[in-house]
């Protein structure tokens, strides 16, 4: 890893340089940061309100007062779009975090201890991967309810298999390395061996998977809420804004209601996917020169 240049080699600097050279990833990061800043801070500095119904303006057209018009009970659609972004990003990130917290330890345990534990965990991933996650999620949400917590947890607990598989494969190859062998022979205990010697090695693939899974979780939440089985009004999410288009008149005559939510969804997911692609290129040691 040591570089021949005068400057000391820094992995972080190397990764940052490579990441910034990936134009799409750079554009994706900037877009995502801007978008996050907007959905987080715009409600704090302006007085937009996604919940209050306006009795005089049902299904209003876009105007200066309501930038994107109002819904059928007079809630401001622009405010719902901004608050919906908060929900979509939050559900996406938190549910992926849950997946990571389940998948990474399982993968480490399976790869490190091998034997019956390995068989059990890997067959468990096979079981989960046999269920189309969308169907499993719909059934589980039907059982546990459609609160934002329930939706987040359900998306999280159905999405851990990829983390487990990836970390498992990585652990399998890492535990054969000489430095691990050296640590074993010098009496390092299992727990610190796994957390200090093996876990850091899985960082790059886990980061990359985290971004792609987040994109996926955001898409899942939106599809779920679009069908009316996810996050429900009065809480706003991009998915349930698209749900307004279940009504044919809204779908065909009032496209300004749902197209912005779909476009923001596309932009967000595209940005995250670009970032994931850039991270993969930047973190992958195989492409290192």
């Amino acid at each position: 890893m040591a570089s021949k240049s005068k400057k000391e080699y820094s992995y972080l600097r190397d990764v940052t340089t490579k990441f910034c050279r990936h134009k799409a990833a750079l554009v994706g990061s900037i877009t995502l940061i801007l978008l996050t800043l907007i959905v987080v801070f715009l409600p704090m500095i302006t007085s937009i309100d996604p919940y209050t119904t306006n009795a005089t303006a049902h299904n209003a057209m876009p105007s200066a007062e309501h930038l994107l018009g109002t819904d059928e009970i007079g809630r401001d659609l622009f405010a719902r779009l901004i608050y919906g972004g908060r929900t979509s990003l939050l559900v996406g990130i938190l549910s992926t975090l849950i997946s990571l917290l389940i998948g990474v330890p399982l993968g480490l345990i399976a790869g490190y201890y091998r034997g019956p534990v390995e068989t059990f965990i890997m067959r468990l991933t096979d079981v989960f991967m046999s269920f189309p996650s969308m169907i499993l999620i719909m059934v589980l949400v039907a059982v546990f309810g459609t609160s934002i917590t329930s939706v987040t947890v359900v998306i999280g607990i159905t999405g851990w298999t990829q983390f487990a598989r990836l970390v498992y494969m990585d652990t399998l190859s890492t535990r054969e390395r000489q430095y691990v062998e050296a640590a074993v022979s010098s009496g390092v205990r299992d727990f610190s061996l796994i957390t200090k010697y093996i876990l850091p090695n899985t960082f790059s693939p886990v980061m990359v998977t985290f971004t792609f899974r987040t994109a996926n979780a955001i898409l899942t939440e939106s599809a779920l809420s679009y069908m009316g089985y996810g996050i429900k009004p009065p809480m706003a999410s991009w998915g349930n804004i698209l749900n307004y288009a279940q009504s044919l008149t809204t779908l065909t005559m009032r496209p300004w209601v749902w197209i912005p939510a779909g476009l923001l969804l596309l932009i967000t997911v595209l940005s995250i996917n670009f970032i994931g692609d850039g991270l993969r290129d930047a973190l992958d040691p195989k492409t290192k020169v």
């Binding site: 890997m122 096979d126 079981v127 996650s133 059934v139 298999t161 494969m169 969804l265 596309l266 595209l270």
Partner: protein, 327 residues
């Protein structure tokens, strides 16, 4: 060879039991026992009658006993009866299977027909303008929610241009006409294929680039073969196998996606059955669909793996270490 297939088969049987245990666990978490529904439909039952029925259904037995009797019933094709219509769940599902298979298979074919040639072209000239455009296209396909794409198609193609119908499978319920079916199929199939398209295009590109960098391609070039013949006769054969293996891994995503697309286009398949069952809290049907599809996916993956291992022995090593999942 035989050993590999046997091993794969053994794993599948274990996974099958895992699926049933998980599904049963979910069923037992569902609010309301089957007795609640019996009582609801017949409020005049006495406490003795309820107790007798509870015993008859085995609901007083420990959970593990209930699980095995349920499993035994299921292995005989009895997935229970719908709370809503009292119909046999298995038959309900089989009746809806045709439309869903038609939709998913068509969209997979569309995705492959478009993705494979585009992926190859992008791989042949990496970093060309075409490569960048097709990559961008693949990324958008991967990131655009299929149902949103479908909504835009409905708005443009059905409403503004009035070219294709926006919902259902047939214009007239009694008149099953093939051309009419195709007209109804186009929009939902394209909406559903979008995500697969992006995925397979990128996968084909990287698989092809990898193959083109191998020694036997250099040998073929050195022999003076034309570029087209190298790509079609040598590289394509070698780079398409990973794609076929991944079709199996994509099946769950495809079925999951079809639930949403069926809901958008009122396509009368399994997805529609699932959503109506959720609305009615019809748990036996929900569970039946979940198990049925999980087992179908399991068998599908098993078949794909066996076929591929017969075609290309190298694949066996790949799936030993855990096959690459979808996205």
């Amino acid at each position: 060879m035989g050993r590999y297939i046997l091993k794969r088969l053994g794993i599948s049987i274990i996974v099958f039991f895992g699926i049933t245990i998980l599904a049963y666990a979910i069923t037992s978490m569902m609010p309301g026992t089957p007795m609640d529904f019996v009582v609801a439909s017949n409020p005049n039952m006495s406490a003795e009658q309820i107790a007798a029925l509870t015993e008859q259904y085995g609901l007083d037995k420990p959970l593990i006993v209930q699980y095995f009797s349920w499993l035994w019933q299921m292995l005989h094709g009895n997935l229970g009866y719908s709370y809503q219509t009292s119909q046999d769940v298995f038959q309900l599902i089989v009746a809806k299977l045709g439309p869903t298979l038609l939709l998913t298979v068509t969209s997979m074919v569309i995705a492959l027909i478009i993705a494979i040639p585009l992926g190859i072209l992008a791989a042949v000239k990496p970093k060309s303008g075409f490569d960048y455009i097709s990559s961008a296209f693949a990324f958008i396909g991967n990131s655009l929610p299929g149902f949103f794409f479908g909504m835009i198609l409905i708005l443009l193609v059905s409403v503004k241009l009035n070219w294709l119908p926006m919902s259902g499978m047939y214009t007239m319920p009694d008149n099953h006409n093939f051309a009419d079916l195709i007209r109804h199929l186009i929009l939902p199939a394209f909406s559903l294929s979008l995500q697969q398209l992006g995925y397979f295009m990128r996968y084909m590109r990287s698989s092809m680039i990898e193959t083109l960098g191998q020694d036997f391609i250099r040998t073929a070039k050195a022999k003076g073969l034309s570029r087209n013949s190298i790509i079609i006769k040598h590289a394509l054969r070698n780079s398409i196998n990973p794609i076929i293996v991944n079709i199996g891994a994509q099946i769950p995503f495809l079925i999951g996606g079809s639930v949403v697309i069926e809901s958008l286009f009122s396509w009368p398949g399994i997805g529609k059955l699932l959503t109506t069952s959720i609305d009615a809290r019809d748990y036996p049907v929900l569970m039946g669909i979940t198990i049925f599809i999980a087992v179908a996916v399991l068998i599908g993956n098993l078949l794909v793996d066996i076929v591929c291992s017969l075609v290309d022995p190298r694949i066996r090593c790949v799936s030993e270490g855990g096959k690459k999942s979808g996205k």
